[in-house]
Symmetry: C3
Subunit: 344 residues, 3 copies
Amino acid sequence: MPKGWRLAELVERFGGRAIGEADIMQVAPIERAGSAELTFVTHPRYRKELEHTKAAAVILNEALQDATVLPRIVCANPAAYFAHVAALFNPEPAARPGIDPSAVLHPTAMVAASAQVGAHVYIGADVTVGEHAVIEAGCVIGDRAVLGAGIRLYPNVTVYHGCHIGARAILHSGVVIGADGFGLALEDGRWLKIPQIGRVVIGADVEIGANTTVDRGAMDDTVIGEGVKLDNQIQIGHNVRIGAHTAIAACTGIAGSTTIGRQCQIGGAVRIIGHLNIADRTEISAACVITKSIDVAGVYAGFYPFEAHRDWLKNAAHLRHLNELVKRIRELESRVDHLQGGQK
Amino acid sequence: MPKGWRLAELVERFGGRAIGEADIMQVAPIERAGSAELTFVTHPRYRKELEHTKAAAVILNEALQDATVLPRIVCANPAAYFAHVAALFNPEPAARPGIDPSAVLHPTAMVAASAQVGAHVYIGADVTVGEHAVIEAGCVIGDRAVLGAGIRLYPNVTVYHGCHIGARAILHSGVVIGADGFGLALEDGRWLKIPQIGRVVIGADVEIGANTTVDRGAMDDTVIGEGVKLDNQIQIGHNVRIGAHTAIAACTGIAGSTTIGRQCQIGGAVRIIGHLNIADRTEISAACVITKSIDVAGVYAGFYPFEAHRDWLKNAAHLRHLNELVKRIRELESRVDHLQGGQK
Amino acid sequence: MPKGWRLAELVERFGGRAIGEADIMQVAPIERAGSAELTFVTHPRYRKELEHTKAAAVILNEALQDATVLPRIVCANPAAYFAHVAALFNPEPAARPGIDPSAVLHPTAMVAASAQVGAHVYIGADVTVGEHAVIEAGCVIGDRAVLGAGIRLYPNVTVYHGCHIGARAILHSGVVIGADGFGLALEDGRWLKIPQIGRVVIGADVEIGANTTVDRGAMDDTVIGEGVKLDNQIQIGHNVRIGAHTAIAACTGIAGSTTIGRQCQIGGAVRIIGHLNIADRTEISAACVITKSIDVAGVYAGFYPFEAHRDWLKNAAHLRHLNELVKRIRELESRVDHLQGGQK
């Protein structure tokens, strides 16, 4: 029978202060947590759910500590505390050392004995795979790539030749690292391909969501800083640099040679054009189109708000005449100035 | 020689009423249908094409039944009728029972004898694969996944551990079901990963387009209702719930914990933020950004309409001063009120 | 030791005029090019970098030829010249003829002896693979597909049955060619699938970026013209036709049955709805939504410009009242007309 954890044991491990005691087997959301489950609350708006929860115990902050009589852990950052506890109860499965007989490895590939290489994996020439790395079924690793210790590649990930993946990085299925950037030159109405000879260099503790693509640099490298978190279906162009601990939500695209600062938070479906600089700690709301560098950290936004289709038809039609409309207002102001002048 | 179908036979099978007779071997679009091909018309604007078509016969509705002298089938819903006939002439290839020798199956995987498992497939521990299922080359099925009867997985699909795929579901190449949702907590400027321990549960008769991603739930499940149709490159965040028979066009993204109703029609490149509720039968036009729950079914829209680049530069610049512009109008109104008051 | 190239040799091969002489081993960006590296400059704004570069030589145009004393090549189109030289120094690796023992080929597949077939590739019935084709690990080629001479498929590409890929085309990892288009008919609140029986036909010298999807035609074909360049994560709907030498940047989506002209340049994250015609040589800026056919070539644009979040909240709120605002302006104009009439 799996061992439960006492609140006192959790507090000993992760800090905070326990009030009351309970035996915890798993974490759960507040609405359906049961008698062996721990949940958490970060915001006073969940007072009602807190009142009705059947959880064994709750993680909350000082301000909410008296909002329940349940056993509880009081701490400064309940969400982070919950992340630690959830990881304790749900650890990533450890690497199962060994190479599946169906995998094909180039004879010069160097794979740590503690690494796990799944079925139908292909590993190219001069690749290095670190200790405790997990490479799941169907992944393809190009020549000379370097995969750090403790990385996890979910099935069907592709890493092109020469790319570096930092320690403990997690790449989800369908991720493509190091495909050619969109480098073209026009000659007589036809496109010439410019060879893309840079690499992708990914720092430690990065996580990259399913079907995200990170292009290799044209001549220099594309660089993803340590601790960066990329959600699904993100596109990172060639020579982009993303600073450490920046998080980017799904479906965002960043065009070539743009530099994103450290600790930025970028929403989903944001589009950032090329050759820009975005300051450290900038926040960009979902669905924004960023066309100029941002020098001052702040919260930025911009999209057309939705409405009933019939209203949108009426309203949006005027956008094409906005310049003219402003002229009409200026004209009115001058006429009214004139009228009021005449009255004086 | 393949057997043709007489209109009388089609009507016997699918209903409607035949006028005249023809021998049908295939379906085709109205502009190039030939003497053994059946086509269809749904709208009076195709009267001209109807006049010139070389088709053997036409499916049309009551209103158009006299618009041609060709052999024809008259019915209430020509598009649906055509879908039935097209499926009759172009059936999905049946499963070829058996497991390709190159596939790797965990010894505990349970695969129905009538199922087809293609080359280089990997099937994990305790997976169940139903009768007549087709799993094409390069697919990877994680531990404990359940694949229903009659499903079809095109090549290079990935299903993560524990996910359920309902009967007859079709998943196109590059689809990723059950990757981790974007669950993070910030602690001292670094992101902690929150383990994603829910599943993805997909209903019967769902179709999912190429390179679409559906994230597993954080703690509860992500749920795709029966008969839902998802186009290509759609992103579904963790804990999203999509009601039965909703259709969503390509490139749309739905952020975490949003609930979409039944029988909705959502256009391409729509972005729906997290934690919203969208009413049953809501229609959302392409390229909309949905930032608030929709309680009343209707047709919603919203995006900036395109124009010549030089015009856009002039018009869009005013958007950043719209609030000020409204103040100037108010000011003018008050000045004109004053002037007219003075005239009285 | 690898052979360097003299400027005189380059000029002999690619044209232009050499001033001075140098021994070139590689290309590099102007900021970090070293003593055996060639760089290029296209625009006067790089005069400063040109002054400080440590490059062995520079490619530039007539107007800039005296802006440096370095050895240089003077030509009409430095970017194209650079593309040629870069390709000379960084050729695509040649096909290594042979079929990896782990690949699975249907007995009826016809693969040229000079072609390279990687690990865990699957090639279906009656497929044709041309001379010097490269099919990297994990690719899956459906029955009856035709792959032209000199094509390169990076790992984990999927080509569905019956699709044609023209000579020398390059498909990056995760590309899916020929998945079913989104063809549905509604019947009693449920969606019927309309079989997609067209193909995808891709011309010679096309390049397609990572995770891009091109759907097969419903009944006719989807056609990508010769020399077309598609970036990553683009979605091309069924029956779309793209004219020769058009280039499309990442994350753009084109809905079904739209025809794009020749030599168009379409930015990233553009959305083009279905059944439109876009004229030859049209340019569309990033993030545009195109909802009407474009008959006249030109540069088109349109998106909501970003700003500080607090400003956007104030400004965007007025968009829903724009129609009413225009009415208020009209009303003011009429009142002021009346006042000025009264003054006369």
